[in-house]
Symmetry: none
Subunit: 135 residues, 4 copies
DNA sequence: GTGGTCTAGACCACA
DNA sequence: GTGGTCTAGACCACC
Protein backbone atom coordinates (compact mmCIF):
# COMPACT_ATOMS: atom_id res chain seq x y z
CA UNK A 1 0.00 0.00 0.00
CA UNK A 2 2.87 2.27 0.81
CA UNK A 3 4.82 1.81 -2.38
CA UNK A 4 2.64 1.22 -5.37
CA UNK A 5 2.94 -2.28 -6.74
CA UNK A 6 4.89 -2.02 -9.94
CA UNK A 7 4.00 -5.39 -11.36
CA UNK A 8 1.36 -6.37 -13.81
CA UNK A 9 0.32 -9.85 -14.66
CA UNK A 10 -1.85 -11.41 -17.33
CA UNK A 11 -3.39 -14.46 -15.73
CA UNK A 12 -4.82 -15.76 -18.98
CA UNK A 13 -1.53 -15.68 -20.83
CA UNK A 14 0.16 -18.91 -21.86
CA UNK A 15 3.28 -17.57 -20.21
CA UNK A 16 3.31 -18.74 -16.60
CA UNK A 17 2.76 -16.04 -14.03
CA UNK A 18 6.00 -16.62 -12.18
CA UNK A 19 7.89 -16.18 -15.42
CA UNK A 20 6.08 -12.97 -16.25
CA UNK A 21 7.24 -11.62 -12.92
CA UNK A 22 10.80 -12.79 -13.44
CA UNK A 23 11.15 -11.17 -16.82
CA UNK A 24 9.45 -7.99 -15.80
CA UNK A 25 11.81 -7.51 -12.95
CA UNK A 26 14.82 -8.35 -15.09
CA UNK A 27 13.83 -5.68 -17.55
CA UNK A 28 13.17 -3.07 -14.91
CA UNK A 29 16.53 -3.64 -13.32
CA UNK A 30 18.21 -3.56 -16.73
CA UNK A 31 16.51 -0.24 -17.36
CA UNK A 32 17.72 1.15 -14.06
CA UNK A 33 14.15 1.72 -12.98
CA UNK A 34 14.87 -0.50 -10.00
CA UNK A 35 18.28 -0.19 -8.41
CA UNK A 36 20.54 -1.99 -6.00
CA UNK A 37 19.32 -1.99 -2.44
CA UNK A 38 15.76 -1.25 -3.34
CA UNK A 39 13.23 -3.27 -1.39
CA UNK A 40 10.79 -5.49 -3.17
CA UNK A 41 7.20 -5.88 -2.08
CA UNK A 42 6.94 -8.82 0.28
CA UNK A 43 5.79 -12.14 -1.09
CA UNK A 44 2.47 -11.95 0.69
CA UNK A 45 1.88 -8.34 -0.22
CA UNK A 46 2.55 -8.87 -3.89
CA UNK A 47 0.54 -12.08 -3.95
CA UNK A 48 -2.38 -10.22 -2.47
CA UNK A 49 -2.10 -7.34 -4.88
CA UNK A 50 -1.97 -9.65 -7.89
CA UNK A 51 -4.60 -12.02 -6.53
CA UNK A 52 -2.19 -14.86 -6.88
CA UNK A 53 -0.94 -17.61 -4.63
CA UNK A 54 2.05 -16.60 -2.49
CA UNK A 55 3.99 -19.62 -3.68
CA UNK A 56 3.82 -18.32 -7.21
CA UNK A 57 5.45 -15.07 -6.21
CA UNK A 58 7.91 -16.93 -4.05
CA UNK A 59 8.95 -19.05 -6.98
CA UNK A 60 9.70 -15.97 -9.05
CA UNK A 61 11.71 -14.41 -6.24
CA UNK A 62 13.56 -17.66 -5.70
CA UNK A 63 14.63 -17.88 -9.32
CA UNK A 64 15.79 -14.30 -9.35
CA UNK A 65 17.80 -14.93 -6.25
CA UNK A 66 19.45 -17.99 -7.80
CA UNK A 67 20.24 -15.79 -10.75
CA UNK A 68 21.93 -13.26 -8.49
CA UNK A 69 19.55 -10.42 -9.21
CA UNK A 70 17.90 -10.43 -5.84
CA UNK A 71 19.32 -10.89 -2.40
CA UNK A 72 17.65 -12.41 0.56
CA UNK A 73 18.05 -10.84 3.97
CA UNK A 74 17.04 -13.18 6.71
CA UNK A 75 13.81 -12.09 8.25
CA UNK A 76 13.57 -9.02 6.06
CA UNK A 77 12.16 -8.50 2.62
CA UNK A 78 14.28 -9.04 -0.44
CA UNK A 79 16.29 -6.35 -2.15
CA UNK A 80 17.86 -5.84 -5.55
CA UNK A 81 21.38 -7.24 -5.24
CA UNK A 82 24.34 -4.89 -5.24
CA UNK A 83 26.10 -4.69 -8.56
CA UNK A 84 22.94 -3.43 -10.16
CA UNK A 85 23.50 0.21 -9.51
CA UNK A 86 23.28 1.45 -13.03
CA UNK A 87 21.12 0.61 -15.99
CA UNK A 88 22.71 -1.67 -18.54
CA UNK A 89 24.21 -0.08 -21.61
CA UNK A 90 21.64 0.50 -24.29
CA UNK A 91 23.36 -2.07 -26.41
CA UNK A 92 22.75 -4.79 -23.85
CA UNK A 93 19.17 -3.79 -23.35
CA UNK A 94 18.67 -3.98 -27.08
CA UNK A 95 20.02 -7.51 -26.95
CA UNK A 96 17.32 -8.37 -24.46
CA UNK A 97 14.69 -6.96 -26.73
CA UNK A 98 16.02 -8.49 -29.92
CA UNK A 99 14.40 -11.95 -29.74
CA UNK A 100 10.95 -10.44 -29.58
CA UNK A 101 11.66 -8.18 -32.51
CA UNK A 102 13.14 -11.05 -34.49
CA UNK A 103 9.96 -12.92 -33.93
CA UNK A 104 7.81 -9.96 -34.89
CA UNK A 105 9.78 -9.50 -38.07
CA UNK A 106 9.42 -13.16 -39.00
CA UNK A 107 5.68 -13.04 -38.47
CA UNK A 108 5.32 -9.86 -40.46
CA UNK A 109 7.25 -11.34 -43.32
CA UNK A 110 5.18 -14.50 -43.32
CA UNK A 111 2.05 -12.40 -43.28
CA UNK A 112 3.37 -10.43 -46.22
CA UNK A 113 2.85 -7.09 -44.55
CA UNK A 114 5.04 -4.32 -45.97
CA UNK A 115 7.71 -3.04 -43.58
CA UNK A 116 6.43 0.52 -43.49
CA UNK A 117 3.09 -0.56 -42.15
CA UNK A 118 4.67 -2.73 -39.50
CA UNK A 119 6.88 0.11 -38.37
CA UNK A 120 4.00 2.52 -38.32
CA UNK A 121 1.93 0.29 -36.08
CA UNK A 122 4.82 -0.33 -33.72
CA UNK A 123 5.50 3.37 -33.52
CA UNK A 124 1.95 4.04 -32.52
CA UNK A 125 2.12 1.35 -29.86
CA UNK A 126 5.35 2.73 -28.49
CA UNK A 127 3.86 6.17 -28.14
CA UNK A 128 0.59 5.30 -26.61
CA UNK A 129 0.43 1.92 -25.08
CA UNK A 130 -2.86 0.16 -25.68
CA UNK A 131 -3.48 -1.16 -22.29
CA UNK A 132 -1.91 -0.01 -19.07
CA UNK A 133 1.21 -2.10 -19.14
CA UNK A 134 0.56 -5.63 -20.31
CA UNK A 135 3.13 -8.32 -20.04
CA UNK B 1 8.15 -34.48 -52.67
CA UNK B 2 9.70 -31.98 -54.98
CA UNK B 3 8.33 -28.95 -53.20
CA UNK B 4 10.95 -27.61 -50.85
CA UNK B 5 9.93 -27.80 -47.20
CA UNK B 6 8.76 -24.35 -46.24
CA UNK B 7 8.53 -24.82 -42.53
CA UNK B 8 10.99 -23.85 -39.88
CA UNK B 9 10.87 -24.93 -36.31
CA UNK B 10 12.72 -23.91 -33.16
CA UNK B 11 12.81 -27.01 -30.99
CA UNK B 12 14.27 -25.16 -28.02
CA UNK B 13 11.51 -22.57 -27.95
CA UNK B 14 8.97 -22.56 -25.16
CA UNK B 15 6.28 -22.46 -27.82
CA UNK B 16 5.16 -26.01 -28.58
CA UNK B 17 6.23 -27.29 -31.94
CA UNK B 18 2.78 -28.16 -33.19
CA UNK B 19 1.69 -24.62 -32.52
CA UNK B 20 4.65 -23.17 -34.35
CA UNK B 21 3.57 -25.17 -37.37
CA UNK B 22 -0.06 -24.19 -37.11
CA UNK B 23 0.60 -20.50 -36.89
CA UNK B 24 3.18 -20.53 -39.60
CA UNK B 25 0.75 -22.08 -41.98
CA UNK B 26 -2.04 -19.76 -40.98
CA UNK B 27 0.14 -16.76 -41.71
CA UNK B 28 1.28 -18.04 -45.06
CA UNK B 29 -2.22 -18.70 -46.19
CA UNK B 30 -3.33 -15.31 -44.90
CA UNK B 31 -0.57 -13.75 -46.94
CA UNK B 32 -1.66 -15.58 -50.04
CA UNK B 33 1.75 -17.15 -50.24
CA UNK B 34 0.08 -20.52 -50.19
CA UNK B 35 -3.18 -20.92 -52.03
CA UNK B 36 -6.13 -23.26 -52.28
CA UNK B 37 -5.32 -26.63 -53.75
CA UNK B 38 -1.68 -26.47 -52.96
CA UNK B 39 -0.27 -29.75 -51.65
CA UNK B 40 1.37 -30.02 -48.27
CA UNK B 41 4.26 -32.31 -47.47
CA UNK B 42 3.10 -35.58 -45.95
CA UNK B 43 3.22 -36.04 -42.21
CA UNK B 44 6.12 -38.47 -42.42
CA UNK B 45 8.03 -36.37 -44.87
CA UNK B 46 7.70 -33.20 -42.88
CA UNK B 47 8.44 -34.92 -39.59
CA UNK B 48 11.60 -36.33 -41.09
CA UNK B 49 12.68 -33.00 -42.54
CA UNK B 50 12.14 -31.20 -39.23
CA UNK B 51 13.50 -34.02 -37.08
CA UNK B 52 10.29 -34.05 -35.15
CA UNK B 53 7.91 -36.69 -33.91
CA UNK B 54 5.31 -37.51 -36.60
CA UNK B 55 2.57 -37.24 -34.01
CA UNK B 56 3.50 -33.61 -33.61
CA UNK B 57 3.05 -32.85 -37.29
CA UNK B 58 -0.10 -34.88 -37.34
CA UNK B 59 -1.54 -32.86 -34.50
CA UNK B 60 -0.82 -29.62 -36.30
CA UNK B 61 -2.46 -30.86 -39.48
CA UNK B 62 -5.41 -32.11 -37.49
CA UNK B 63 -6.01 -28.75 -35.90
CA UNK B 64 -5.75 -26.97 -39.21
CA UNK B 65 -8.19 -29.37 -40.75
CA UNK B 66 -10.66 -28.86 -37.91
CA UNK B 67 -10.27 -25.15 -38.49
CA UNK B 68 -11.13 -25.58 -42.14
CA UNK B 69 -7.83 -24.41 -43.45
CA UNK B 70 -6.68 -27.79 -44.70
CA UNK B 71 -8.50 -30.58 -46.40
CA UNK B 72 -7.75 -34.25 -46.16
CA UNK B 73 -8.00 -36.29 -49.33
CA UNK B 74 -8.20 -40.03 -48.72
CA UNK B 75 -4.94 -41.65 -49.54
CA UNK B 76 -3.45 -38.48 -50.85
CA UNK B 77 -1.60 -35.71 -49.11
CA UNK B 78 -3.43 -32.75 -47.63
CA UNK B 79 -4.13 -29.57 -49.51
CA UNK B 80 -5.02 -26.04 -48.65
CA UNK B 81 -8.82 -25.93 -48.54
CA UNK B 82 -10.74 -24.08 -51.23
CA UNK B 83 -11.95 -20.69 -50.22
CA UNK B 84 -8.42 -19.53 -49.56
CA UNK B 85 -7.70 -18.22 -53.01
CA UNK B 86 -6.85 -14.71 -52.06
CA UNK B 87 -4.78 -13.14 -49.32
CA UNK B 88 -6.67 -11.57 -46.46
CA UNK B 89 -7.10 -7.82 -46.45
CA UNK B 90 -4.07 -6.06 -45.03
CA UNK B 91 -6.15 -4.86 -42.14
CA UNK B 92 -6.90 -8.41 -41.02
CA UNK B 93 -3.33 -9.46 -41.38
CA UNK B 94 -2.29 -6.52 -39.25
CA UNK B 95 -4.66 -7.72 -36.59
CA UNK B 96 -2.87 -11.03 -36.56
CA UNK B 97 0.42 -9.30 -36.09
CA UNK B 98 -0.71 -6.84 -33.47
CA UNK B 99 -0.36 -8.96 -30.31
CA UNK B 100 3.29 -9.57 -30.99
CA UNK B 101 3.89 -5.89 -31.55
CA UNK B 102 2.01 -4.97 -28.41
CA UNK B 103 4.26 -7.27 -26.48
CA UNK B 104 7.38 -5.88 -28.12
CA UNK B 105 6.30 -2.35 -27.28
CA UNK B 106 5.67 -3.24 -23.64
CA UNK B 107 9.08 -4.86 -23.33
CA UNK B 108 10.82 -1.95 -24.97
CA UNK B 109 9.14 0.44 -22.59
CA UNK B 110 10.10 -1.59 -19.55
CA UNK B 111 13.64 -1.74 -20.83
CA UNK B 112 13.62 2.02 -21.25
CA UNK B 113 14.78 1.90 -24.85
CA UNK B 114 13.89 4.99 -26.88
CA UNK B 115 11.31 4.37 -29.63
CA UNK B 116 13.59 5.44 -32.47
CA UNK B 117 16.09 2.79 -31.61
CA UNK B 118 13.46 0.11 -31.41
CA UNK B 119 12.08 1.08 -34.77
CA UNK B 120 15.51 1.19 -36.28
CA UNK B 121 16.31 -2.32 -35.15
CA UNK B 122 12.99 -3.68 -36.33
CA UNK B 123 13.49 -2.04 -39.68
CA UNK B 124 16.82 -3.72 -40.08
CA UNK B 125 15.31 -7.07 -39.15
CA UNK B 126 12.49 -6.64 -41.61
CA UNK B 127 14.88 -5.94 -44.41
CA UNK B 128 17.54 -8.47 -43.70
CA UNK B 129 16.20 -11.42 -41.73
CA UNK B 130 18.87 -12.65 -39.40
CA UNK B 131 18.59 -16.32 -39.63
CA UNK B 132 16.70 -18.07 -42.39
CA UNK B 133 13.20 -17.74 -41.09
CA UNK B 134 12.89 -18.51 -37.42
CA UNK B 135 9.55 -18.95 -35.82
CA UNK C 1 11.19 -50.35 -10.60
CA UNK C 2 13.22 -51.11 -13.67
CA UNK C 3 16.28 -49.10 -12.76
CA UNK C 4 16.92 -49.02 -9.07
CA UNK C 5 16.35 -45.62 -7.54
CA UNK C 6 19.74 -44.16 -6.83
CA UNK C 7 18.67 -41.42 -4.49
CA UNK C 8 18.56 -41.33 -0.75
CA UNK C 9 16.94 -38.69 1.31
CA UNK C 10 16.96 -37.83 5.00
CA UNK C 11 13.54 -36.34 5.68
CA UNK C 12 14.46 -35.20 9.17
CA UNK C 13 17.51 -33.26 8.08
CA UNK C 14 17.53 -29.47 8.30
CA UNK C 15 18.64 -29.46 4.69
CA UNK C 16 15.54 -29.29 2.51
CA UNK C 17 14.76 -32.41 0.56
CA UNK C 18 14.86 -30.78 -2.83
CA UNK C 19 18.33 -29.51 -2.10
CA UNK C 20 19.52 -32.90 -0.98
CA UNK C 21 18.44 -34.23 -4.32
CA UNK C 22 20.08 -31.43 -6.24
CA UNK C 23 23.42 -31.86 -4.58
CA UNK C 24 23.37 -35.59 -4.76
CA UNK C 25 22.83 -35.50 -8.45
CA UNK C 26 25.46 -32.86 -8.96
CA UNK C 27 28.00 -35.04 -7.20
CA UNK C 28 27.06 -38.15 -9.09
CA UNK C 29 27.38 -36.42 -12.41
CA UNK C 30 30.69 -34.92 -11.33
CA UNK C 31 31.88 -38.40 -10.44
CA UNK C 32 30.84 -39.74 -13.82
CA UNK C 33 28.49 -42.16 -12.16
CA UNK C 34 25.69 -40.63 -14.16
CA UNK C 35 26.49 -39.61 -17.72
CA UNK C 36 25.09 -37.51 -20.52
CA UNK C 37 21.96 -38.90 -22.06
CA UNK C 38 21.10 -41.04 -19.11
CA UNK C 39 17.43 -41.00 -18.19
CA UNK C 40 16.35 -39.90 -14.76
CA UNK C 41 13.53 -41.54 -12.89
CA UNK C 42 10.31 -39.73 -13.62
CA UNK C 43 9.08 -37.17 -11.15
CA UNK C 44 6.18 -39.34 -10.05
CA UNK C 45 8.27 -42.46 -9.82
CA UNK C 46 10.96 -40.87 -7.71
CA UNK C 47 8.41 -39.11 -5.54
CA UNK C 48 6.74 -42.43 -4.89
CA UNK C 49 10.00 -44.18 -4.11
CA UNK C 50 11.07 -41.49 -1.67
CA UNK C 51 7.61 -41.07 -0.18
CA UNK C 52 7.73 -37.41 -1.03
CA UNK C 53 5.45 -34.99 -2.80
CA UNK C 54 5.97 -34.89 -6.58
CA UNK C 55 6.37 -31.13 -6.46
CA UNK C 56 9.38 -31.52 -4.27
CA UNK C 57 11.10 -33.71 -6.82
CA UNK C 58 9.95 -31.43 -9.58
CA UNK C 59 11.53 -28.47 -7.87
CA UNK C 60 14.86 -30.24 -7.69
CA UNK C 61 14.69 -31.22 -11.35
CA UNK C 62 13.70 -27.70 -12.30
CA UNK C 63 16.68 -26.20 -10.55
CA UNK C 64 19.04 -28.65 -12.16
CA UNK C 65 17.59 -27.84 -15.53
CA UNK C 66 18.06 -24.11 -14.95
CA UNK C 67 21.62 -24.92 -14.02
CA UNK C 68 22.14 -26.75 -17.30
CA UNK C 69 22.78 -30.12 -15.76
CA UNK C 70 19.53 -31.68 -16.88
CA UNK C 71 17.64 -31.39 -20.09
CA UNK C 72 13.94 -31.54 -20.57
CA UNK C 73 12.50 -33.43 -23.48
CA UNK C 74 8.91 -32.55 -24.07
CA UNK C 75 6.66 -35.39 -23.07
CA UNK C 76 9.57 -37.62 -22.13
CA UNK C 77 11.52 -37.97 -18.97
CA UNK C 78 14.51 -35.80 -18.28
CA UNK C 79 18.07 -36.74 -19.14
CA UNK C 80 21.52 -35.66 -18.08
CA UNK C 81 22.46 -32.84 -20.44
CA UNK C 82 25.12 -33.41 -23.07
CA UNK C 83 28.46 -31.99 -22.15
CA UNK C 84 28.59 -34.21 -19.10
CA UNK C 85 30.19 -37.18 -20.77
CA UNK C 86 33.14 -37.55 -18.52
CA UNK C 87 33.72 -37.21 -14.81
CA UNK C 88 35.24 -33.95 -13.73
CA UNK C 89 38.96 -33.87 -13.08
CA UNK C 90 39.79 -34.98 -9.58
CA UNK C 91 40.93 -31.50 -8.82
CA UNK C 92 37.50 -30.06 -9.52
CA UNK C 93 35.76 -32.72 -7.54
CA UNK C 94 38.05 -31.95 -4.63
CA UNK C 95 36.93 -28.34 -4.89
CA UNK C 96 33.37 -29.48 -4.46
CA UNK C 97 34.31 -31.42 -1.38
CA UNK C 98 36.49 -28.76 0.14
CA UNK C 99 33.87 -26.64 1.94
CA UNK C 100 32.69 -29.62 3.95
CA UNK C 101 36.23 -30.51 4.90
CA UNK C 102 37.01 -26.91 5.83
CA UNK C 103 34.07 -26.99 8.12
CA UNK C 104 35.08 -30.30 9.63
CA UNK C 105 38.58 -29.01 10.26
CA UNK C 106 37.28 -25.88 11.93
CA UNK C 107 35.03 -27.88 14.22
CA UNK C 108 37.81 -30.30 15.11
CA UNK C 109 40.11 -27.47 15.96
CA UNK C 110 37.51 -25.77 18.12
CA UNK C 111 36.91 -29.07 19.87
CA UNK C 112 40.62 -29.42 20.44
CA UNK C 113 40.79 -32.88 18.96
CA UNK C 114 44.26 -33.85 17.75
CA UNK C 115 44.56 -34.20 13.97
CA UNK C 116 45.57 -37.86 14.02
CA UNK C 117 42.38 -38.84 15.75
CA UNK C 118 40.25 -36.88 13.33
CA UNK C 119 41.96 -38.47 10.38
CA UNK C 120 41.60 -41.90 11.87
CA UNK C 121 37.88 -41.52 12.32
CA UNK C 122 37.39 -40.15 8.85
CA UNK C 123 39.39 -43.01 7.41
CA UNK C 124 37.19 -45.51 9.12
CA UNK C 125 34.08 -43.76 7.81
CA UNK C 126 35.44 -43.69 4.28
CA UNK C 127 36.09 -47.39 4.35
CA UNK C 128 32.89 -48.59 5.85
CA UNK C 129 30.10 -46.14 5.66
CA UNK C 130 27.95 -46.09 8.75
CA UNK C 131 24.60 -46.01 7.21
CA UNK C 132 23.72 -46.99 3.67
CA UNK C 133 24.39 -43.72 1.94
CA UNK C 134 23.12 -40.77 3.91
CA UNK C 135 22.95 -37.33 2.51
CA UNK D 1 36.12 -5.07 26.48
CA UNK D 2 39.72 -6.07 26.51
CA UNK D 3 39.14 -9.72 25.62
CA UNK D 4 39.48 -10.16 21.91
CA UNK D 5 36.25 -11.33 20.24
CA UNK D 6 36.65 -15.03 19.69
CA UNK D 7 33.65 -15.61 17.47
CA UNK D 8 33.50 -15.84 13.76
CA UNK D 9 30.37 -15.81 11.73
CA UNK D 10 29.56 -16.51 8.09
CA UNK D 11 26.56 -14.35 7.27
CA UNK D 12 26.11 -15.92 3.84
CA UNK D 13 25.92 -19.44 5.18
CA UNK D 14 22.65 -21.34 5.14
CA UNK D 15 23.24 -22.10 8.80
CA UNK D 16 21.46 -19.48 10.90
CA UNK D 17 23.76 -17.10 12.68
CA UNK D 18 22.47 -17.73 16.16
CA UNK D 19 23.16 -21.41 15.69
CA UNK D 20 26.68 -20.76 14.48
CA UNK D 21 27.29 -18.90 17.70
CA UNK D 22 25.74 -21.55 19.90
CA UNK D 23 27.71 -24.39 18.44
CA UNK D 24 30.93 -22.49 18.43
CA UNK D 25 30.64 -21.79 22.09
CA UNK D 26 29.64 -25.34 22.90
CA UNK D 27 32.71 -26.65 21.16
CA UNK D 28 35.05 -24.25 22.87
CA UNK D 29 33.76 -25.10 26.27
CA UNK D 30 33.92 -28.80 25.45
CA UNK D 31 37.53 -28.32 24.47
CA UNK D 32 38.30 -26.56 27.71
CA UNK D 33 39.41 -23.56 25.75
CA UNK D 34 36.90 -21.51 27.67
CA UNK D 35 36.35 -22.31 31.29
CA UNK D 36 33.89 -21.71 34.09
CA UNK D 37 33.70 -18.13 35.22
CA UNK D 38 35.07 -16.68 32.06
CA UNK D 39 33.24 -13.54 30.93
CA UNK D 40 31.55 -13.33 27.59
CA UNK D 41 31.34 -10.18 25.51
CA UNK D 42 28.09 -8.33 26.05
CA UNK D 43 25.26 -8.76 23.59
CA UNK D 44 25.70 -5.27 22.21
CA UNK D 45 29.43 -5.54 21.99
CA UNK D 46 29.39 -8.87 20.19
CA UNK D 47 26.60 -7.81 17.88
CA UNK D 48 28.57 -4.75 16.93
CA UNK D 49 31.77 -6.68 16.37
CA UNK D 50 30.02 -9.23 14.14
CA UNK D 51 27.82 -6.72 12.40
CA UNK D 52 24.80 -8.70 13.42
CA UNK D 53 21.42 -7.90 14.89
CA UNK D 54 21.62 -7.81 18.72
CA UNK D 55 18.53 -9.98 18.90
CA UNK D 56 20.45 -12.70 17.17
CA UNK D 57 23.22 -12.68 19.74
CA UNK D 58 20.68 -12.49 22.49
CA UNK D 59 18.90 -15.55 21.16
CA UNK D 60 22.13 -17.51 21.12
CA UNK D 61 22.95 -16.51 24.68
CA UNK D 62 19.44 -17.33 25.76
CA UNK D 63 19.63 -20.84 24.36
CA UNK D 64 22.98 -21.45 25.96
CA UNK D 65 21.66 -20.24 29.27
CA UNK D 66 18.65 -22.53 29.04
CA UNK D 67 21.07 -25.33 28.29
CA UNK D 68 23.01 -24.51 31.44
CA UNK D 69 26.20 -23.60 29.70
CA UNK D 70 26.03 -19.90 30.47
CA UNK D 71 24.93 -18.03 33.51
CA UNK D 72 23.36 -14.64 33.63
CA UNK D 73 24.45 -12.26 36.37
CA UNK D 74 22.12 -9.35 36.93
CA UNK D 75 23.57 -6.22 35.53
CA UNK D 76 26.80 -7.88 34.59
CA UNK D 77 27.87 -9.74 31.50
CA UNK D 78 27.31 -13.46 31.20
CA UNK D 79 29.87 -16.05 32.23
CA UNK D 80 30.52 -19.68 31.51
CA UNK D 81 28.56 -21.62 34.13
CA UNK D 82 30.38 -23.47 36.87
CA UNK D 83 30.71 -27.18 36.29
CA UNK D 84 32.60 -26.59 33.11
CA UNK D 85 36.04 -26.56 34.57
CA UNK D 86 37.51 -29.36 32.54
CA UNK D 87 37.34 -30.31 28.93
CA UNK D 88 35.11 -33.21 28.01
CA UNK D 89 36.71 -36.58 27.47
CA UNK D 90 38.09 -36.96 23.99
CA UNK D 91 35.54 -39.63 23.25
CA UNK D 92 32.65 -37.26 23.86
CA UNK D 93 34.21 -34.56 21.77
CA UNK D 94 34.67 -37.04 18.95
CA UNK D 95 30.98 -37.78 19.14
CA UNK D 96 30.27 -34.13 18.57
CA UNK D 97 32.47 -34.13 15.53
CA UNK D 98 31.21 -37.36 14.05
CA UNK D 99 28.12 -36.12 12.14
CA UNK D 100 30.18 -33.68 10.13
CA UNK D 101 32.68 -36.38 9.26
CA UNK D 102 29.94 -38.79 8.31
CA UNK D 103 28.63 -36.23 5.93
CA UNK D 104 32.05 -35.51 4.49
CA UNK D 105 32.62 -39.21 3.92
CA UNK D 106 29.30 -39.60 2.13
CA UNK D 107 30.02 -36.67 -0.16
CA UNK D 108 33.49 -37.93 -0.93
CA UNK D 109 32.12 -41.31 -1.85
CA UNK D 110 29.47 -39.83 -4.12
CA UNK D 111 32.12 -37.71 -5.76
CA UNK D 112 34.23 -40.80 -6.29
CA UNK D 113 37.31 -39.32 -4.67
CA UNK D 114 39.79 -41.89 -3.37
CA UNK D 115 40.11 -41.97 0.44
CA UNK D 116 43.80 -41.13 0.48
CA UNK D 117 43.20 -37.87 -1.28
CA UNK D 118 40.40 -36.92 1.04
CA UNK D 119 42.55 -37.64 4.06
CA UNK D 120 45.44 -35.72 2.60
CA UNK D 121 43.33 -32.63 2.07
CA UNK D 122 41.81 -32.80 5.51
CA UNK D 123 45.24 -33.17 7.03
CA UNK D 124 46.41 -30.06 5.29
CA UNK D 125 43.36 -28.17 6.49
CA UNK D 126 43.86 -29.33 10.05
CA UNK D 127 47.41 -28.13 10.07
CA UNK D 128 47.04 -24.88 8.26
CA UNK D 129 43.53 -23.46 8.53
CA UNK D 130 42.65 -21.68 5.35
CA UNK D 131 40.91 -18.64 6.54
CA UNK D 132 41.07 -17.39 10.09
CA UNK D 133 38.54 -19.67 11.65
CA UNK D 134 35.39 -20.02 9.61
CA UNK D 135 32.33 -21.65 11.01
C1' DG E 1 6.78 -9.08 10.33
C1' DT E 2 9.86 -11.68 6.67
C1' DG E 3 10.83 -15.93 3.36
C1' DG E 4 11.01 -21.27 2.91
C1' DT E 5 9.31 -25.84 2.63
C1' DC E 6 6.10 -29.31 2.06
C1' DT E 7 1.56 -31.45 1.14
C1' DA E 8 -2.59 -32.84 -1.40
C1' DG E 9 -4.95 -32.35 -5.23
C1' DA E 10 -6.52 -30.30 -9.66
C1' DC E 11 -5.75 -29.21 -14.30
C1' DC E 12 -3.02 -28.39 -18.57
C1' DA E 13 0.19 -29.34 -22.40
C1' DC E 14 3.12 -32.33 -24.89
C1' DA E 15 4.47 -36.86 -27.26
C1' DG F 1 2.92 -41.80 -20.24
C1' DT F 2 5.90 -37.33 -19.34
C1' DG F 3 6.72 -32.53 -16.84
C1' DG F 4 4.53 -27.82 -15.50
C1' DT F 5 1.63 -24.72 -13.08
C1' DC F 6 -1.29 -23.18 -9.65
C1' DT F 7 -4.03 -23.34 -5.38
C1' DA F 8 -5.10 -23.57 -0.43
C1' DG F 9 -3.37 -24.31 3.69
C1' DA F 10 -0.04 -25.81 7.29
C1' DC F 11 4.16 -25.34 9.68
C1' DC F 12 8.96 -23.74 10.45
C1' DA F 13 12.86 -20.53 11.00
C1' DC F 14 14.66 -16.05 11.29
C1' DC F 15 14.72 -11.16 12.94
Amino acid sequence: MDTPIQFVVAPGSPEPIYRQLVEQLRRRVAAGQWVAGQELPSVRELALALAVNPMTVSKAYGLLEAEGLLQRRRGLSMVIAPGHRKPLATRERMDQLRPTLVRAAAEARQLGIPPEQVLQLLQRLLERPETGDPT
